[in-house]
């Protein structure tokens, strides 16, 4: 089976997952006590105002009709409007989602690019000083709370050294003098395609600290996973025969063993990627990063259901795509895995 048919089959299966999540979140949100219409109407509404809004939002109709309306809007690509701010969720997400994705992708890249080589060496030289130092780093990365790391990082790199900005995605000067022409919403991408290098480096500067802080957890996980599976791989007979063939340590570790050992780290870091879409809200708040985490946290505090449902659906899609990518990667790496 080719990769294309595999993709199509997996995607069509994923549609069912998506529908399941949709039904669940929609009905749970309607069953939970609360008065969305009152929320929508603002402070101290009169009862007849609330009734009018109920009719306007269709909340007076039976549940299944409300659901059908929601689904048909969704099929048109319309995620609805926030009960709290009355803004279009599509517009909001087109700003917040790229901001979060840019941050999370950067964090995951740091975690993999740094964590995997460290894990390889730690697995190759167990019980060495390097191994113990690595364990410390990995455990710290996984267990130190991100808000604390964020504050420390700000203290060191902003307050003390003054190397990096405190927060935000771009400085006011850069946004005034070198405005980025929005296309994808990814500042780095948009700035790069328009060769707006001043804005590019300004945005990169702003990205470094929050991305580093957010990468701590997946970095720790990548190190530990890689190390554990390297130890396993290095005990295999094919490694003995590679040594007997006189291959260099570099080839044995980073080619022959790593290819066998990389998948667990990729899988777990992939899942932490999907989790970080909403899980990064503390880091986003501390770094004033206008992301989905902050957005959905406010929505939860305001019981703003359309936003909660919309973000849940977006995260579901990200999970599905990440899982698909991981499976595809596994099949690419391992010829014994049959696509199907």
């Amino acid at each position: 089976m080719t990769a294309i048919t595999f993709l199509l089959r997996r995607l069509s299966l994923s549609v069912f997952v998506f529908i399941g999540v949709l039904i669940l979140t929609f009905f749970v949100s309607r069953v939970i006590p609360g008065n969305p219409a009152a929320l929508y109407a603002g402070a101290r509404p009169r009862p007849e105002q609330v009734e009018a809004i109920k009719v306007k939002l269709g909340l007076d109709k039976p549940l299944h009709e409300q659901f059908l309306v929601y689904v048909s809007d969704l099929l048109d690509g319309d995620l609805g409007e926030s009960y709290h701010s009355r803004r279009s969720i599509n517009t909001d997400l087109s700003i917040f989602l790229p901001a979060t994705l840019e941050l999370v992708i950067a964090a995951v890249f740091i975690a993999l690019l740094v964590g995997i080589p460290i894990g390889v060496l730690a697995g190759a030289y167990p019980k060495s000083a390097f191994d113990y130092a690595t364990r410390l780093v990995a455990i710290a990365g996984v267990s130190v709370p991100s808000f604390w790391l964020a504050l420390i990082a700000q203290f060191i790199f902003f307050s003390s050294l003054g190397w990096l900005p405190l927060g935000g995605r771009i400085s006011r000067d850069a946004s005034l003098f070198y405005p980025i022409a929005a296309q994808t919403g990814f500042y780095l991408v948009d700035a790069a395609v328009s060769s707006n290098w001043d804005a590019f480096f300004d945005a990169l500067h702003h990205l470094i600290l929050p991305a580093l802080v957010l990468s701590a957890y997946p970095l720790g996980v990548a190190i530990r996973m890689t190390q554990a599976s390297m130890i396993e791989a290095l005990a295999e007979n094919y490694i003995t025969s590679a040594r007997a063939a006189g291959l260099s340590q570099r080839v044995i570790l980073f080619k022959l063993a790593l290819k066998n050992a990389i998948m667990p780290a990729l899988t777990v870091v992939g899942l932490s990627f999907a989790y970080s879409i909403t899980g990064a809200f503390l880091v986003e708040t501390i770094f004033s990063w206008p992301g989905v985490g902050k957005y959905v946290t406010e929505a939860v505090l305001n019981v703003d259901f359309p936003v909660i449902i919309a973000v849940t659906l977006v995260v579901t899609v990200v999970y599905i795509l990440v899982n698909l990518a991981v499976d595809l990667l596994q099949a690419l790496l391992d010829p014994r895995v049959r696509l199907g």
């Binding site: 295999e236 025969s241 590679a242 040594r243 007997a244 063939a245 006189g246 066998n260």
Partner: protein
């Protein structure tokens, strides 16, 4: 002619949580150029440890406590890791028992051969692919050009071992250590692989240490044989003389335990008793507790080699008795 490889008084022990395991208790033998030398003995007698000592690929808890391994004028045990890496694969290669797990499952056969070529023949050689295809043809794999892009799991056991042999030949080594290369294969495939090894050995004049516990294979394949018992050499010499006139009681026992054509299962004579464990300190002859001819001296003193004839040595006190001549 000087032997290509000489092992002198090699002693290897493993440290374990239960104490030291004396795997090799001092062995001496040499491999003549162009010969196939059979290394035989019961399980646990130290055959694989000997092979891995030569390659310097022992487990981490191993220690070579004495001895020299002379190859081409060098003592392999004294080489640096980098020097040793240039010997492995390039001058001395190894073939293992289980081809299914000895090949890397995630790389094509071609890629694995090219890795060996790159390691020893330098990179950027355009001929690597042609050379690899030639090797695959030489080990008798069908459709060698296509074999390049095949993964190990797509091959049969016999084909996998042929691929392993191609890998070990890639850098044109002088010596190959084959550790039970046919044990994991069907009997008919075994014969084919043995034929292949014999042919390649002859054509390329490679010297081989052939580890096996099958005296039948030794008889068909080897010129020399070294019989190990409990980490020591019991008897060594030319295959014809040892199989025809075994001198050491242990070798005689092994030969008597061989099934012969026409014999029933219950005709087999098994050597009574057990192999001593690696934890034991052995005083005297290691075989004494199981020997039918045991004498007082056997329990007190480790026998030195007696020269039976110029190519045949046996370590047994019986040979020192005037009556036995």
């Amino acid at each position: 002619m000087t032997p290509i490889l000489t092992i002198e008084n090699l002693q290897v022990e493993f440290s374990t949580p239960f104490g030291a395991v004396h795997a090799i208790r001092g062995i001496d033998f040499s491999l003549a150029r162009g010969d196939i030398l059979g290394l035989v003995g019961e399980t646990g007698c130290g055959k694989s440890v000997t092979g891995r000592s030569i390659m310097r690929l022992l487990d981490e808890n191993a220690k070579v406590s004495a001895g020299r391994i002379l190859f081409d004028g060098m003592d392999l045990l004294q080489l640096t890791d980098t020097e040793m890496r240039r010997i492995r694969g390039n001058r001395i290669a190894m073939i293992f028992q289980d081809p299914a797990t000895s090949l890397n499952p995630l790389f094509t056969i071609g890629e694995q051969i090219k890795d060996v070529l790159r390691a020893h023949r330098g990179s950027g050689r355009g001929g690597a692919k042609a050379l690899a295809i030639e090797l695959l043809a030489d080990v008798g794999l069908p459709d060698p050009a296509q074999m390049m892009s095949v993964y190990p799991h797509q091959l049969s056991g016999g084909q996998q071992q042929r691929a392993m042999i191609a890998l070990s030949l890639a850098a044109e080594p002088d010596v190959i250590i084959a550790d039970e290369p046919t044990t994991a294969l069907d009997v008919t495939i075994q014969a084919q692989i043995l034929d292949l090894l014999r042919r390649l050995q002859r054509e390329r004049s490679i010297s081989v240490i052939f580890i096996t516990h099958d005296l039948g294979i030794v008889a068909e394949t080897c010129q020399q044989v070294v019989v190990l018992y409990a980490g020591r050499v019991a008897e060594k010499g030319a295959v014809e003389t040892i199989l025809a006139r075994p001198q050491h009681p242990y070798t005689r026992g092994l030969l008597a335990a061989l099934p012969r054509p026409g014999s029933r299962g219950n005709d087999l004579r098994v050597i009574r008793g057990n192999v001593p464990s690696g934890f034991e300190r052995i005083v005297g002859c290691a075989f004494a507790p199981r020997c039918d001819y045991v004498m007082d001296i056997c329990r007190a003193q480790n026998p030195a080699f007696s020269v039976i004839d110029s190519t045949h040595h046996s370590a047994c006190h019986l040979h020192e008795m005037p009556a036995n001549g």
